[in-house]
């Protein structure tokens, strides 16, 4: 036993690394651990449920990915989908961002080439966690670029577990955002790098990053507006440099040309109002460059001032006239409703009910900020303070990114996602700087006594100098206490993140889980039951009408044609479905027949107490339907402005198609002990119309917990 430590220490000595190597080793191993952590923390849903696709939109992405694997890229690019938006159809290749599908198929092909017999579904399920892991690496390098490697490491750790990001990147959440956040952060990082170095290579890389982002998510508009804004700020603050000129021009021109290759984006970069800021800044850069050159040529300042005045006014005038002409002639399209609703949170509510009806488009509540950011919420201002203390091109960028994205996060819940990387980076600066200052304080005190001079590097100098000046008695203890406080907060953050991930963000929403009477887990798998029934037992060309929420799932899992789906591109079509659902049966049947519908599907939670069912969404159907067809009036369905389904409900409500389909034969059903039959558990009332008779539709299938009900449209009666 005694010899063992000696030999071990010998071994250590022979392996003894230099400090720099040690640091590298620690850094690499921390990064590796963070990389793995970011991946496995997103696997809760796979372990708890199964490897499956979540929610609504991912099912469309999965279906298109399957199509891409089976038919190849050219067929995918030219795909006209007959199974959705019947009878209009959808040009899929031209109306989606293909980045996600191409990425997944590429990973799939590589794995297949390496003889890993994986199924494309598994690749799709794990794409988001994989890209989240890659994002942590980018966050590290970004942090290193704007501050130092310590901040980079902290940023990587923070972003690995941040709930704001996890919410959209758990395993199975196969959505554009999963890869887009990686692309977004990568583009920003490479652009900042290009601005810092003035290197053409980096700015070329940022153009490609931008291209990937454009191919992956509509949120690229944020990049193409933030970067010009950032450039503008640099110009105004007098930080114009050749580096900036190279970085921006290369990135803008190449990025624009590359982005035009995506069919869904097309010529928007030169034609749409949302992209005009970038073009304006591009021309402004040229004016700046020109002026710089003139200034260089002209030695007379007075002459230059005059020239400057003339050039600037004429440039602005020409730009204004060009923009005005473009707008008037219709060459440049005005801003879209979605863009407006970002700038003005109340816009959607008044003008586009279809955007307002989506829960993730609501303005963010304070609680969800706290839920998604936790301690980052107050580390963020602290980080901003540090950034302002050490202003550079890079910190200006991150400050601008942070502030603008925080504003957007306040406007829409789903945009918390865009703000998350910025918040993590800025908070990482705060954490890293604080901890560094505190540890320097602890370590340098001993050295001060002995050597009298500090050897601390970088940012620690100021603090150690301060230490020399004032020797407060409890400084060391205070620093220790503060350090413990910081670690406590960070560990609370980690606990909170894990809890949020496991409790809130890891349910697939297609399978519902509840606790049974004995504490056992009860699974409601009704959605898949219904979709699989559709898939197996209806004619291949059956047309299914449902509210648009379920469109993607019906086409992906049920493999049947739908009238409307989650790609809400045609408001009138959706309004027609809304109108059919909110009309009386004999009026609705006309619409249903005109749409050639064979089956009508409704989601009903009255038996299980599942609250996000069609009855609770019904007012939106009325609103959207009424927005196009004024026959439908919202007050008809309300009693004194109150929405109810019991005896006191409005007569039109009690007899409209949606009500009838949901509550057909529900009046005979005992749902809860001690309650009358027909007691709706989702709304906690006894329903008002128990004697529902259907004339033109018949019940075709109801799932075991009644969550999905499917009705068959009867053929018209024979006329005699």
């Amino acid at each position: 036993m005694a010899t063992m430590p000696a030999s071990a220490s010998d071994l250590l000595k022979s392996f003894k690394l230099k400090t720099k190597q040690q640091e590298l080793l620690i850094r690499v191993s921390i990064l590796c651990l963070v990389y793995i952590l970011a991946f496995i923390t997103r696997l809760f849903s796979v372990l708890r449920y199964e490897s499956m696709i979540h929610e609504f939109d991912p099912y469309f992405n999965y279906r298109t990915t399957l199509y891409l694997t089976e038919n190849g890229f050219y067929d995918f690019w030219n795909w006209f989908d007959y199974e959705s938006w019947y009878p209009l159809g959808r040009i899929v290749g031209g109306t989606l961002y293909p980045g996600l599908m191409v990425t997944a198929v590429l990973i799939y092909r590589i794995l297949r080439f390496l003889r890993f017999a994986v199924h494309i579904r598994e690749v799709c399920v794990l794409t988001a966690p994989f890209f989240a892991s890659n994002t942590t690496l980018v966050a590290y390098f970004f942090g290193k670029e704007i501050w130092d490697s310590g901040a980079g490491l902290v940023a990587a750790i923070l972003i690995a577990v941040c709930p704001g990001y996890i919410s959209r990147s758990v395993a199975g959440s196969y959505d554009n955002e999963g890869v887009a956040i990686f692309a977004l952060l990568f583009t920003f990082y490479v652009f900042v790098k290009a601005v810092n170095t003035g290197s053409l290579a980096w700015s070329l890389a940022s153009a490609f990053g931008y291209f990937y982002m454009v191919s992956a998510w509509g949120g690229y508009v944020f990049i193409i507006n933030l970067i010009p804004l950032y450039v503008l700020v640099l110009l105004i603050t007098g930080r114009y440099s050749m580096r900036l000129y190279v970085a921006y021009n290369c990135m803008y021109i190449l990025g624009m040309l590359l982005a035009m290759q995506i069919r869904f984006v097309g010529f928007q970069h030169v034609q749409s109002g949302e992209h005009m800021a970038a073009m304006g800044v591009f021309f402004l850069m040229q004016v700046f460059y020109f002026l710089d050159w003139v200034k260089h040529m002209l030695s007379d300042t007075k002459l230059f001032q005059a020239f400057l005045r003339i050039t600037v006014t004429s440039a602005v005038a020409v730009g204004g006239i060009a923009l005005g002409l473009g707008m008037v002639s219709g060459y440049i399209s005005p801003w879209t409703g979605r863009f407006y609703s970002l700038l003005d949170p109340t816009y959607a509510k008044d003008h586009i009910p279809i955007i307002a009806s989506v829960s993730e488009h609501q303005p963010t509540a304070w609680s969800s900020f706290m839920f998604d950011f936790h301690i980052l919420l107050f580390l963020f201002p602290a980080g901003l303070y540090f950034c302002f203390k050490r202003l550079s091109d890079a910190t200006i960028f991150i400050v601008m990114y942070g502030l603008t994205s925080m504003y957007f996060a306040g406007v829409m819940v789903r945009l918390i996602l865009v703000a998350t990387p910025a918040v993590c980076l800025i908070s990482a600066i705060a954490v890293s700087t604080t901890v560094k200052n505190l540890t320097v304080l602890l370590r340098s005190k001993n050295k001060v006594v002995q050597t009298g001079s500090t050897k601390g590097s970088g940012g620690s100098k100021s603090s150690s100098k301060a230490l020399l000046d004032q020797s407060q008695p409890f400084q060391k203890n205070g620093a220790i206490a503060l350090l413990f406080g910081a670690f406590y907060l960070l560990s609370r953050y980690a606990t909170h993140c894990t809890w949020v991930t496991s409790e809130a963000y890891s349910s697939p929403s297609i399978v519902l889980a509840a606790r049974g009477a004995h504490g056992n887990r009860v699974i409601f798998d009704d959605y898949r039951e219904a979709y699989f029934w559709l898939r197996q037992n209806t004619p291949q060309d059956a047309k299914v009408m449902s509210w648009w929420d379920y469109g993607y799932q019906i086409t992906a899992m049920g493999n049947r044609t739908v009238i409307v789906d989650n790609n809400t591109w045609n408001n009138t079509h959706i309004a027609t479905v809304g109108r059919a659902m909110s009309s009386y049966e004999d009026e609705a049947i006309e619409i249903i027949r005109s749409l050639d519908v064979d089956y009508v599907l409704v989601v009903f939670g009255g038996v299980t107490g599942y609250s996000s069912d069609d009855i609770n969404k019904f007012l939106w159907m009325v609103r959207i339907g009424g927005g196009v067809f004024p026959v439908i009036k919202e007050p008809d369905y309300l009693v004194n402005g109150e929405y109810r389904v019991d005896k006191g409900a409005a007569p039109k409500m009690l007899n409209c198609l949606m009500y009838k389909l949901c509550y057909y034969r529900f009046g005979e059903m005992m749902t809860e002990y001690g309650k009358p039959p027909g007691y709706d558990r989702a709304r906690g009332v006894e329903i008002g119309n128990k004697d529902v008779k259907l004339e033109h539709l018949e019940e075709a299938f109801t799932t075991s917990n009644w969550i999905v009900r499917i009705y068959r449209v009867k053929p018209p009666n024979n006329r005699w």
Partner: protein
């Protein structure tokens, strides 16, 4: 009912007269059947027929071949024919299986199909023996009405002959038909015939010449679910690391009377016995013991409604489809499970290995229309050969799985029209050198090694152009 029976009698007569001449020329007709008893069990959708024949050699030469004949419509649905003979004296009797082979006769009347039973000992002149024959018929109950509503029960037709179709003269015969319930709508009377409880008795009939035929039609209630697997692909993958992975892909259909009109969940839940009586609610699969990692899923994900019960002798997997299957409804699903290799893989004395596994479908009371069994041998195995107790179509394929370079040999066996009686064992023999087991781990190890070497090299080599 009168007219068709007359017609059939006429047909029988024509048959008889037609065959008389053929039988004369045939060398087989020195056999005769002194007593025949037939029991037809209609209680499930698989028709089981037990035939007891007392065969007597009336000729002068000993013979060891006994012919069975079937009308062509039945022959198409015939899943299996087995013949047994009892041996030994009283109390110590044992049943001995006899070989049965399909036979083509050149001038078969009305396309009758034949099976030959080969007796173990030739039957000498004047001797007699008793042969027990069991045969199973699938798809032989025709739902009538063909479409029923949820609350109706399922009625079916069964067609057969009151007289046993045989190339031999039958001195005395009787047929007993067992129906699943006492509810019989109608049955063809061929006197003497009568019905008592769940049994209909035809006979005894005396002295019928060869190829006598008297069609009967029985219309009765049969609410047992007609579970038919249209296609089943079983893949058995051998890994010499100790696991046998079985994956079974089912296309299940309820082949009974088609469901029409409404499916009402209220009625189905509140009055399960009256509503959807013939619906298929669950299936039972009998799996080998020591089964592990069982899964049950379909194209869109896991199906949570299954229960596994295991004990040391067998495992039972109870599976519920996502929805109850009514007539004409379909469901596709996959069952997969792992098994310990040592239970199924053995070595022969000449250093070959063989897999010993069950052939048929593990689901109870189901008919499989088409079964494909694929045995995936480990990479590097050679000379595969399969031994199956009944005729199957065979060919070889190649499959690529994890980290395969040359691919794995797959022995594919196909058979149509299977019943649970086909769940006998088959063997696949092959040679395999254990050293090949190390190929894949070595490949992985060397890939990682190369990766680290590349990393080390990258860190130590300065690739910059400027110095």
């Amino acid at each position: 009912m009168e007219a068709p029976i007359r017609a059939r009698e006429a047909l029988g007569f024509i048959l008889f007269s037609l065959l008389f001449s053929i039988c004369r020329s045939s060398s087989l007709n020195h056999l005769l059947i002194s007593n025949a008893e037939r029991r037809i069990d209609l209680s499930s959708h698989i028709v089981k027929v037990f035939l007891t024949l007392k065969v007597e050699n009336a000729g002068s030469t000993p013979t060891s071949e006994v012919l069975l004949s079937f009308p062509p419509t039945q022959a198409d649905h015939l899943a299996t024919v087995e013949a047994l003979v009892t041996k030994g004296k009283r109390k110590k009797t044992t049943l001995v299986h006899l070989d049965v082979k399909p036979t083509e006769l050149p001038d078969a009347p009305n396309d009758a199909k034949y099976f030959t039973i080969y007796l173990a000992n030739p039957l000498k002149s004047g001797e007699s023996t008793t042969i027990e024959v069991l045969y199973l018929l699938t798809h032989s109950q025709e739902p009538f009405p063909a479409e029923i509503a949820q609350s109706e029960s399922q009625l079916v037709y069964y067609r057969d002959s009151a007289l046993i179709l045989s190339p031999y003269h039958i001195k005395q015969q009787a047929t007993f038909v067992k129906t699943p319930s006492t509810k019989v709508e109608s049955f063809t009377r061929v006197e003497p015939s009568n019905r008592a409880g769940t049994e209909i008795k035809y006979g005894p009939y005396e002295d019928h010449p060869p190829y006598s035929f008297s069609p009967i039609l029985i219309h009765f209630e049969n609410n047992s679910p007609f579970a038919v697997v249209e296609e089943l692909v079983r893949e058995v993958e051998i890994s010499h690391w100790g696991n046998l992975q079985v994956t079974e892909q089912y296309t299940l259909v309820h082949a009974g009377a088609r469901h029409k009109g409404v499916f009402s969940r209220v009625d189905y839940q509140s009055r399960p016995t009256l509503n959807g009586a013939s619906s298929l609610r669950y299936l039972l699969a009998r799996l080998p013991p020591r089964v592990h990692s069982v899964y049950y899923r379909d194209e869109i994900g896991n199906i949570s409604s299954s229960h596994l019960r295991t004990d040391s002798r067998k495992s039972e997997l109870e599976i519920e489809p996502r929805y109850p299957l009514f007539g004409g409804w379909k469901a596709t699903f996959v069952i997969g499970y792992g098994l310990p290799l040592q239970d199924f893989l053995f070595e022969t004395s000449d250093d070959r290995r063989y897999l010993n596994f069950t052939f048929g479908c593990p689901l109870l009371e189901t008919v499989v229309d088409k079964l494909t069994v694929k045995v995936v041998l480990p990479e590097g195995s050679k000379d595969p050969s399969a031994v199956v107790p009944f005729p199957v179509e065979q060919h070889l394929e190649t499959k690529y799985s994890y980290l395969d370079v040359v691919g794995r040999t797959v022995v594919v066996m196909e058979k149509k029209n299977l019943v649970p009686a086909h769940n006998s064992h088959f063997q696949v023999y092959y040679t395999f050198k254990s050293i090949f087991m190390l190929a894949e781990p070595l490949m992985l190890a060397s890939a990682f090694f190369l990766f680290f070497v590349a990393c080390v090299a990258y860190l130590h080599i300065d690739l910059s152009i400027r110095k």
